[in-house]
Assembly symmetry: C2
Homo-oligomer: 466 residues x 2
């Protein structure tokens, strides 16, 4: 492991900044103070800002293949279109995991939670190849294999009509067995690869699946990750399925915990919010996806006032359509100013940075090791070049970073003390080759028609009152 | 004038794409068809998308000096802080106009409407130096000198209390005389420099000022540009001032027209919207600023359904804090999906591109000359590199451009047929020198205290019920 010392770098300190040196020894932060002795390689931090790495705390990497082309649809129809054209080739999964890692890294993220869509029949292969991609890039990966045990149409409320759904193609037990095998093969937290239990959400999962996941989580000390109440349709569906809110139900079956991260959380009421606080669950806010799909504006200021932990995700690139974390952080902050006229509750740039770093670490149950510039914590660090035009003139560096539209500002990034971005370039893989591969395996297209959408759209419009 | 032919370039055609050659002769589009003869310089358009240049239809260039550092405040308090620290040096105005032009250009804009804050006592000098900056860059400029004839505190509703305001430091007549002189000296539409009449808005302008501007607009054929109902406080204020809505009042005094562009338009009712449609006024949507300041979400889908012309602006960099038009277009599209559950009304990427180009041209009364790839129109064009990682894999190019987070994708840009961006770099000015100047004339800072905010905050909170 290479030791190094970043010299004369700006860090956030109290409510101001300080210019310090930062020593990294054996992958951890060993000292932070002015004028330290240089241990290992000296890195020039002048005119740069050092922050803890952010968490891209919810995404689906293989959605990158369909970004830009998905229809402007709400989630339920969008999902039907998405699955009609989902990539089924492990090599595609590999390339989109690389692409997701690169875009995350170059926008300040050092960790990614990949709610990974599994190729049917190639489930472990899908997990293996995503693991390989993240290991190659060197980003810290939280691979959350997306599982369900009900078929897609069950995710839309029935309304007045009686709906019948095809059974899911694989049994709940077989699905849980795949996850347990994935844990045995790939879960290596010390090497930066984590497997999570990740039932997609109440809309497509039985209680048996949630409970099986909870058992695996307890047995192997795994984090839990799901979608929660992304759309109004899911709010309706929960009432149909459980006769109570989804949050009440998930609490009752024991799924909520301090290592449970819940993506979206748009349609929660005040009692639900109290349950998230009480169970110490984490909300992963995906503002861009929630807008693109018309899902709604998550009540983030209410979460913060209730002391629910909140962090940010890009969501999959088919619903965003980017993996730029700084964009998600900006939008996830300023969007909420229109939901509360009292500006004293608005999210400040410094709070946003803390949500994106420490908030992610808390949600993934590793706040003791990551998420802040603290002596003893692991060195997942990002160094921003403050001389880029998009961060000039000089004012408040964190304000510029969060509220501006920074471009090419990540100078360096380290994960566990290993440098994986230097001089603005990813050093671990050849990004030009990746671009070429993505180019070669795709073509410009504008017209495609989802058969599933054609089948379900009329019912969707009826049940949603459109 | 240099003639040129872009070969084998993708353009939007009907609801699909076509690969064509585009001939530019004497600054205008002479032909669009496959396999044209090369006239002048041949430009390789392979794997590139050609679109008409966008309009950054509302900004305040000198706000760039305070981006990143403005408090998270609503408009009325934010404005007080802004003016307490406004740059008063013409050289700063020059540099921020350059910076605004560069960021606009590198995000697809070939025209900028600069609602230019004038340095008191140096009004014509301010206009002269901004004009010089835009001429140097070569961007098409619509300089809208920001004028008012009431003092800042008059912009906050009185509520129950009796408020007394200082008179404005300059008479209405003297202000109008400055604008008329600016028109004589700088208004040169054929050279790409336009002066607009631009009373800031009902919150700080008397009827005499609006009417004087209308007269100048009629006499010199000038476009009209104002803020309109950006905040709830302004909605209240209009009722206090006029006993009717601001839109009703502006219609009554003859300010609304087919060459009137109105920034923000957040707090309009249905009758107001009908008036905008009837008068053929244009809404300039500034989504990021409206979020950052908590102003609200403008009812853009309602405007579109009422056939009100809508285009996009970044707004000044103190309320955004970027001049990236692609960001404004993305947010200005997807934000509205949460305001209408029927996705059939949502803005598609192609519609967004048309709003940003033809919508801007309509608002500025030059749709016969600009805003679309049409033979005979002037060549304000942008060529996007579709091989950039942020636009891969290949799917729908316009979907990727609008819904993604494109970075470094503008390969070339022309204004009136003159190339001002080539190979991703601005060719007309030295951007590295600009960066250096912006760096040298600023410093990192986090703490400053606005005296005016301290004076008015208590009254603001009372009148807004906070």
């Amino acid at each position: 492991m290479v030791n190094f010392t970043i010299q004369n770098v700006l860090i956030a300190f109290s409510d101001d900044y300080a210019t310090v040196d930062v020593q990294i020894i054996d992958g951890a932060i060993a000292a932070i103070a002015p004028n330290l002795q240089v241990i290992g390689t000296a890195i020039d931090g002048k005119n740069k800002l050092l922050l803890p790495g952010f968490f891209n705390a919810h995404t689906h990497s293989s959605e990158m293949w369909q970004r830009g082309i998905m229809s402007v649809f709400p989630l339920e129809l969008w999902l039907a279109e998405l699955y009609d054209f989902a990539p089924l080739d492990p090599e595609q999964v590999y390339l989109s995991a690389l692409g997701t890692a690169v875009e995350t890294l170059l926008s300040g993220g050092t960790s990614v939670v990949d709610h990974l869509v599994l190729i049917p029949g190639l489930e472990l292969e899908t997990i293996a190849i995503a693991t390989r991609a993240y290991r190659e890039v060197g980003i810290r990966a939280f691979i959350a294999p997306l599982i369900q045990d009900e078929s897609l149409s069950a995710g839309i409320p029935s309304g007045e009509s009686a709906q019948k759904h095809e059974p899911y193609f694989r049994s709940t037990a077989a699905t849980l067995e795949i996850i347990e095998e994935a844990v045995r093969q790939f879960h290596r937290p010390d090497e930066g690869i984590n497997i999570l239990v990740a039932p997609t959400g109440i809309q497509l999962c039985t209680d048996a699946l949630f409970q099986g996941c909870t058992e695996l989580s307890d047995r192997y000390n795994l984090c839990r990750h799901s979608h929660l109440l992304e759309t109004k349709a899911q709010e309706k569906l929960a009432q149909e399925k459980y006769g109570c809110t989804a949050v009440e139900h998930l609490k009752r079956i024991g799924y909520l915990s301090d290592r449970t991260t819940l993506a979206h959380c748009v349609w929660l009421n005040d009692a639900d919010i109290a349950i998230l606080a009480e169970t110490q669950s984490t909300v992963v806010h995906n503002p861009l996806s929630n807008l693109r799909l018309g899902s709604g504006i998550a009540p983030i200021l209410k979460y913060r006032q209730a002391e629910v932990n909140v962090t940010f995700g890009c969501d999959g690139a088919s619903s965003n359509d980017s993996q730029d974390l700084l964009e998600a952080i900006k939008m996830g902050s300023i969007l909420h100013n229109v939901t509360n006229s009292d500006y004293q509750h608005w999210i400040t740039p410094r709070q946003a940075v803390e949500m994106a770093s420490l908030g992610g670490a808390k949600g993934l149950n590793i706040a003791d090791k990551l998420g802040s510039l603290t002596v003893g914590k692991q060195a997942d660090l990002v160094l921003y070049d403050l001389t880029n035009l998009s961060l000039l003139p000089r004012t408040d560096p964190i304000g510029l970073l969060v509220l501006g539209r920074p471009t090419n500002v990540v100078n360096s990034a380290w994960v566990n003390g290993k440098q994986i971005v230097a001089d603005g370039k990813v050093t671990t893989i050849n990004v030009d080759e990746l671009r070429q591969e993505l180019f070669n395996r795709s073509q410009w297209e504008t017209k495609r028609k989802s058969e599933t959408v054609a089948q379900i759209e009329a019912h969707y419009r009826t049940v949603m009152g459109l």
